[in-house]
Amino acid sequence: MKTLVSQAVSRLARWGTKWSLWPPHLVTACCGVEVGHLFGSAYDAERFGMLPMGSLRQSNILIIEGTITLKMAKFVKYIYEQMPEPKYVVAMGACAIKGGVFYGSYHMVPAAKVLPVHAYVSGCPPTPEAVLKAVTKVQEQIAHAEN
C-alpha cells in the first residue's frame, strides 16, 4: 500500500516537474542573449511549459548561460543552493563545458566543477533550438528517473 502510494505520488510529481521547468533569471555571460530568444516568438520555450520566474523559491531549472568566472561561481553556487529541492541544471555553451575561448584562463571554471549538471549544450553560442533540445533531454531524464 505504502509503495503504491509513493509510486503514484512519484509519477504525478515527475509528470508535473517534467512539464513545468521554471528557470530563474541568471545571466552569467553572453549566452543570455540566446536564452532571451528561447522565450521569444520564434522558439517559444513556453510550449514545453517553461516560464521564466523572478524568484528562486519557485524555480527549478538553472540554465548556466556561458562562462562562469570564479567571482560569479560563488553566486551561481549560492543560487543553486537556494532553489527548492527537485532542481536541474543545463550548462550552455562551450565556455560552460570546458572554457571555450577562455580555455586555460586563470579566472574561469567549467560548470561541472560548480554544480551537478544534467545536460550540456554545445556551441558558441548555442542556438536556441539546441537549448530546447537539452531541455527536452532533461525532461526525459525526469520522466525516466527512478524513485
Partner: protein, 324 residues
C-alpha cells in the same frame, strides 16, 4: 426557488458554481487562457506539448503538481506558522464573497437582501491580508510590494465602491435576485455605462492586472508580495489574484450584464459563466498590450479621472432614479 437537479440550489452553489469547483476550475482555465492569449498576441504557441490534443490545457495542472511536490522552504527569519497560514487565509478570504453572489435563480449559498453590497465590502477588506502576508515575509521586495499594494488599494477602493453604489441606487436593491430582475428590460451596462467603465478599470486595478501590475512588477520588485513563497503556498499567494478576478467578474456579470437572463436553471448558470468572459478576457488581454504605469501615475488615475467618473456615475444614477 427551485433548481432542477438532485442537489438543492444552494448546495450546487457551494460545491459546483460559484463554489469550490468553480474557483479551482477557474484557476486552471484562466491561467491557461492567459498564457495562450498572450502567446497568440506575441506570435507564439504558448503551453502546448503537455497535452497536445487539448492545446496545453493541462499546463496549469502540471504546474500545480510540480509546485505541490516541490520542497516547501520556510525561511528562518520569519514566523513559520504565520508564514504558512497567511497565504491560505488570503486565498480563502478572496474566495469568500461568492457566498453572497447568485449564479442563477436559487443558486446562491446565502441569500441576503444586501448580498451584493456585502460581497463588494468583503472584496475590499482583503487587502489587509495581502499586507499581512508581505509583513510576515519580512523582505525588502515584499515590503515595497506591500506599500504599493496599500497605495493602489486606497486609489481603487473609492471608485469601485461608488460604481457599485451607483448601481444599487439605480436598482433600489442589493439583493442578487432582485438586481437581475430589474435588469430584465435593459442591462445595467446600458442603464449606467459610466459605472461600468469605472468598474472595469477598478477591476483591473484590484486584481493588479497589467497596466496596474505595480505591486508585483517583476523588473522592479521580483514578485512583490509573493517573493518568498514557493511550493503550494506560492499557488495560494499568486492564485489569490485570480480568485479575486473570478469574484469581481461574477459580481460584474450580475451587476451590469443581467446575470443569468434570459434563462434560468442550468442554462442560466452557463449564461452567467459566459458573461463573466466580458470581464475576464480583457483582463487577460491587457497583459499583452499595455506597458506598466508608475505608481504615481496609477494613483493619479485612481484619485483623479476614476474618482471623477465614479462620482458622475452616482449622480447619473440619482438622476435616473429620480426621473424613474
Amino acid at each position: 426557488m427551485d433548481f432542477p437537479s438532485p442537489l438543492s440550489g444552494d448546495l450546487v452553489a457551494a460545491l459546483v458554481f460559484p463554489g469550490v469547483l468553480g474557483i479551482f476550475g477557474f484557476l486552471v482555465v484562466a491561467i491557461w487562457l492567459e498564457r495562450k492569449l498572450v502567446a497568440r498576441v506575441q506570435w507564439r504557441y504558448g503551453p502546448l506539448y503537455v497535452s497536445r490534443p487539448l492545446g496545453g490545457l493541462l499546463q496549469p495542472v502540471a504546474d500545480l503538481f510540480k509546485l505541490v511536490f516541490s520542497e516547501l522552504v520556510l525561511p528562518r527569519h520569519t514566523n513559520r506558522l504565520l508564514f504558512a497560514a497567511t497565504p491560505i487565509l488570503l486565498f480563502f478570504a478572496e474566495g469568500l464573497p461568492v457566498v453572497f453572489i447568485a449564479a442563477a435563480p436559487g443558486v446562491v449559498m446565502a441569500p441576503h437582501s444586501y448580498g451584493l453590497a456585502i460581497a463588494v465590502v468583503l472584496v475590499l477588506l482583503v487587502a489587509v491580508l495581502m499586507v499581512a502576508m508581505a509583513w510576515t515575509e519580512a523582505d525588502k521586495f515584499t515590503y515595497i510590494g506591500a506599500m504599493r499594494e496599500i497605495l493602489l488599494t486606497a486609489a481603487y477602493e473609492v471608485p469601485l465602491l461608488l460604481a457599485a453604489l451607483a448601481m444599487f441606487l439605480l436598482y433600489g436593491t442589493a439583493d442578487p435576485h432582485k438586481v437581475v430582475e430589474v435588469q430584465s428590460g435593459l442591462w445595467g451596462v446600458l442603464l449606467n455605462p459610466l459605472a461600468f467603465v469605472v468598474y472595469l478599470v477598478a477591476l483591473l486595478m484590484a486584481t493588479t492586472r497589467f497596466p496596474f501590475e505595480i505591486p508585483e512588477a517583476e523588473p522592479e520588485v521580483v514578485l512583490g508580495p509573493y517573493t518568498e513563497y514557493g511550493s503550494t503556498l506560492f499557488i495560494y499567494a499568486f492564485g489569490a489574484n485570480y480568485v479575486k478576478l473570478y469574484v469581481l467578474s461574477l459580481l460584474g456579470a450580475v451587476l451590469f450584464l443581467g446575470g443569468w437572463l434570459p434563462a434560468a436553471g442550468v442554462l442560466g448558470v452557463l449564461i452567467t459563466l459566459a458573461k463573466m468572459g466580458v470581464f475576464v478576457l480583457p483582463a487577460m488581454l491587457v497583459r499583452a498590450i499595455y506597458p506598466r504605469y508608475r505608481i504615481d501615475q496609477a494613483l493619479r488615475i485612481g484619485w483623479g479621472q476614476l474618482l471623477a467618473l465614479s462620482a458622475a456615475a452616482v449622480l447619473w444614477s440619482l438622476l435616473a432614479a429620480w426621473i424613474w
